[in-house]
Symmetry: C2
Subunit: 206 residues, 2 copies
DNA sequence: GCAGAATCAAACTGAACAGTACAGTTTGAA
DNA sequence: TTCAAACTGTACTGTTCAGTTTGATTCTGC
């Protein structure tokens, strides 16, 4: 019975889509099921055929968003060059800029706010979100640094500390600063700022 | 008319106190005015004499908590010794441990969740919260590093990058990791972990 | 074209809850 | 004693909203 007809899955996606917009804009408490049904172009009745409750719907919405993010992030880091210090520097700056750009988008921030607020009630989503950052970002940086270390470009005694230091130093522009910034779109740090932090970090790795 | 009688201020504090407990435990939406009145040991009627609405009450509660936190943090950093590398290292580890301990408490995390969730609706509180970290913590670290630099203990070209790197590397245990952790109390990083990050950071400052 | 499934719109139910009204009690000063 | 202000507890109002019911309508495969 876990098998869904193609039909069903299409409708489900349609509902999820509409709900996504409303949840991100209004949060869990602020989103009414009437508004969700309307945004999805579906009757409330149908909505409740596909989802047993508003909470189940939200879990599906947030879970989908996060796994899509994680999927998008994956792969293609293996190709990034790290075989000399200038290469590593450029790669780190590039990666950092991409990531910061992605997570300073108002969508992602709204998503994060909703998740943080509801994480006591829905722990699994909180865990999934932390993994987007922990697993997603930290892991990617670790992987790059390991390759660079193995290539003899840098010296790292404590890989966890190194990864924490670099990702933390960069993420701090978004968490805490960006997440509560409400006047205008959030400013990801400009490239120069990113470069300065990467450079400083690299000085610690000889 | 801005003058309050002592009587009034005592009652106001009593209400604020009860409300604090309920807001931190339940969040804004989850806290009912009945529960707040009960927790404060005050009739709902009286509550509405002192506060025009639930929202005004929450702003007062969060604002009070944050300014108390900021007040507690202030001062006494001027005495911390930074005149040699071992001294600086010990001082940084000490400061970091204190700060991490403070902000990984379940009260502070609950407070942060509420603020983050409501920051789109109540921007001033969001700003105040960011200042607790930005102004409070980052400023203190900056001040220490400046003294150490002036004493010739470290070399720092870019003070902002240095502060970001260090505070970010440490805060990352709480944000994002701690804020959505719900199984058991949040684990501030142990002393050894803090030391490793501080040590790595110090390698970047010659 | 038709049976049966899926969907729709709209009204309804029941509960939660912010905020108010009210009738009565305490307190403390004159 | 008296009076006024502050307070209390309970009950009420009005609204919002998740979830259900109803009964009609539109698809879809046969």
């Amino acid at each position: 019975m876990t098998q869904e007809s193609a039909r069903s899955e299409a409708k489900r996606a349609q509902i999820r889509h509409g709900a996504t917009r409303v949840f991100l804009a209004e949060g869990f408490a602020g989103a009414t099921t009437d508004a969700i049904a309307k945004a999805a172009g579906v009757s409330k009745q149908t909505l409740y055929v596909y989802y047993r409750s508003k909470e189940k719907l939200m879990i599906d919405v947030l879970g989908s968003l996060l796994s899509r993010l994680n999927r998008d992030h994956a792969a293609l880091d293996g190709d990034r060059p790290v075989d000399s210090l200038p290469q590593l520097r450029a790669t780190l700056v590039e990666l950092a800029s991409e990531v910061l750009e992605a997570i300073s988008g108002s969508d992602y921030l709204a998503l994060s706010r909703v998740i943080i607020a509801d994480s006591p009630r829905v722990p699994e989503i909180g865990r999934l979100w932390a993994q987007t950052i922990t697993g997603g970002i930290r892991l990617r940086v670790t992987e790059l640094l390991e390759r660079a270390r193995d290539a003899g470009v840098i010296v790292v005694d404590d890989m966890e500390a190194a990864t924490r230091l670099l990702t933390g130093g960069l993420l701090t522009y978004i968490l805490p600063d960006g997440i509560v910034a409400t006047d205008g779109p959030v400013t990801a740090p400009d490239r120069e700022r990113v470069e300065r932090i990467v450079d400083l970090f690299l000085r610690a790795t000889t």
